[in-house]
Symmetry: none
Subunit: 251 residues, 2 copies
DNA sequence: CAATCAGTGTTATTTTTCTAACATTTTCTG
DNA sequence: CAGAAAATGTTAGAAAAATAACACTGATTG
């Protein structure tokens, strides 16, 4: 996926941040491109946005999640994420204190945590917090602040201090872009501070990123590749050339 | 619309109560009728359910969807609480920064805020935060910390400092007990710190409490009656004897 | 019992959405 | 700048959904 394509997707995601839907034609007009281009953007995207009968909606919105069948095309991406998270959770040990980043990539990870007895989860994302709160035996620490609908997360200048006070064993990070020379980047600048704080504090830094993130640069750069210890991805060896730094776990 | 038609719609609405979508074919199978019948049901119905590209979803622009809380609906006092909150919201002015306490009492208040253009809501409760996050024009500040499932709220020792940094116009407080001599109390000790911090900072302190809270003492005492400026309640004059301090608004 | 009518199913037609193919424009590269 | 590659637009056809038309069923009623 290319730069402009991603920018359009981000803009649309922002528009739909509070939920709701957008007709494909309106989305195209909003971005000043043809409907076909929006379709292609969606196909190349990470599945956060999805098309339902000509209407663009947030895939994560429980309002539109299918009750019954799961045979959607969109599910392909979701299946990849589940697979990656299943690999990633192998690193977790009983008693850990985990940091979980925002976005949709790491949502399946929370589901995988249900089998642990004693875990503390630290996050600044509302969707992650809601998922964790449903698991009664997990301890949850939410880093507060001003809410950013675009990423469903909180943050302010106090987040560094708040994270520093915690003893985090493992940080699970997500990134919208992962580039050999430009390192790790995300869409929103407000995500940078908590990500950096987590990287600084955590014992082990684990990045989970599907193949579509590879070779991509996003506006907000938050770390170098060398700053993470492990990369969990479904990208094949061929796609990884020039990527140095983390050990790689293929999902 | 006829009896059976309404019954099918009710059943489908029930299936989608928790959100989610249903393909028309599945909906038809679920009701044991043809797709065409479902289409006709929907056309005759009240528009609660709608068809989006072959998928049945709960209708209306979710952006302005009413904020429902499941706990709230189970609550016998729900109607009273809604009435009290409608009275309480009269105090709110455009541009305010509001503190909203935890519990179910103040949940209807959030729904009432949908019509304001410019508000900032400060809270330490997960249920309140989720409700506010769905309203686009509202700014949300969540006070983070360790999650307490018992009250669906967060809190730690840093909450005082976090609240003190904010300029709060009006604090909407809830209490589990309200007693002439023993003042205001709640169930959980972890609620005391944020409540006290809000009382200390806010310009106007508004306590919302239905009649069942009157004359009751709970384990965690957090304030005196005199520390709130206004009490919104449905209790009758007779029940209020000995209650001194706040001005009273009857809902 | 025939006529009627509401409720539903079936089929056909129109409209919309999706997909693929190819044309055009823009951006990159040597 | 020429040529290649990428991005986007346009068009046409396939698939799916929405609508309309008509047929069937079973109950009601005069």
């Amino acid at each position: 996926m290319n730069e402009r394509s991603a920018r359009r997707l981000a803009r649309l995601a922002d528009t739909l941040a509070q939920g709701g839907s957008l007709r494909l034609a309106d989305a195209a007009a909003l971005c000043g491109v043809s409907e076909m281009t929006i379709r292609r953007d969606l196909a190349a995207g990470d599945g956060e946005l999805t098309l339902m009968g000509g209407h663009l909606v947030r895939a994560g919105d429980p309002r539109y999640a299918p009750v019954y069948d799961l045979d959607d095309q969109r599910d392909r991406q979701a299946a990849a994420k589940r697979r990656l998270c299943r690999r990633a959770v192998e690193r977790v040990e009983e008693g850990d204190t985990l940091f979980i980043d925002c976005g949709t990539t790491l949502m399946p990870l929370v589901a995988e945590l249900a089998n642990f007895r004693e875990l503390t989860v630290v996050t600044y994302a509302l969707n992650v917090a809601n998922a964790v709160a449903r698991l009664p035996h997990l301890r949850l620490v939410l880093l507060g602040g001003v809410y950013h609908a675009s990423s469903q997360s909180f943050g302010d200048e106090a987040v560094d201090a708040a994270i520093a006070r915690l003893g985090i064993n493992r940080a699970f990070l997500s990134a919208a872009g992962l580039h050999p020379r430009h390192g790790l980047s995300c869409f929103h600048f407000h995500e940078v501070a908590p990500k950096r704080a987590a990287i600084a504090t955590a014992g082990e830094r684990i990045l989970v990123a599907d193949a579509t993130k590879l070779g991509v640069i996003r506006p907000a750069r938050f770390a170098e590749l060398e700053e993470v210890d492990l990369l969990v991805t479904d990208a094949r060896e061929g796609d990884m050339e020039g990527l140095q730094g983390p050990r790689v776990l293929h999902g």
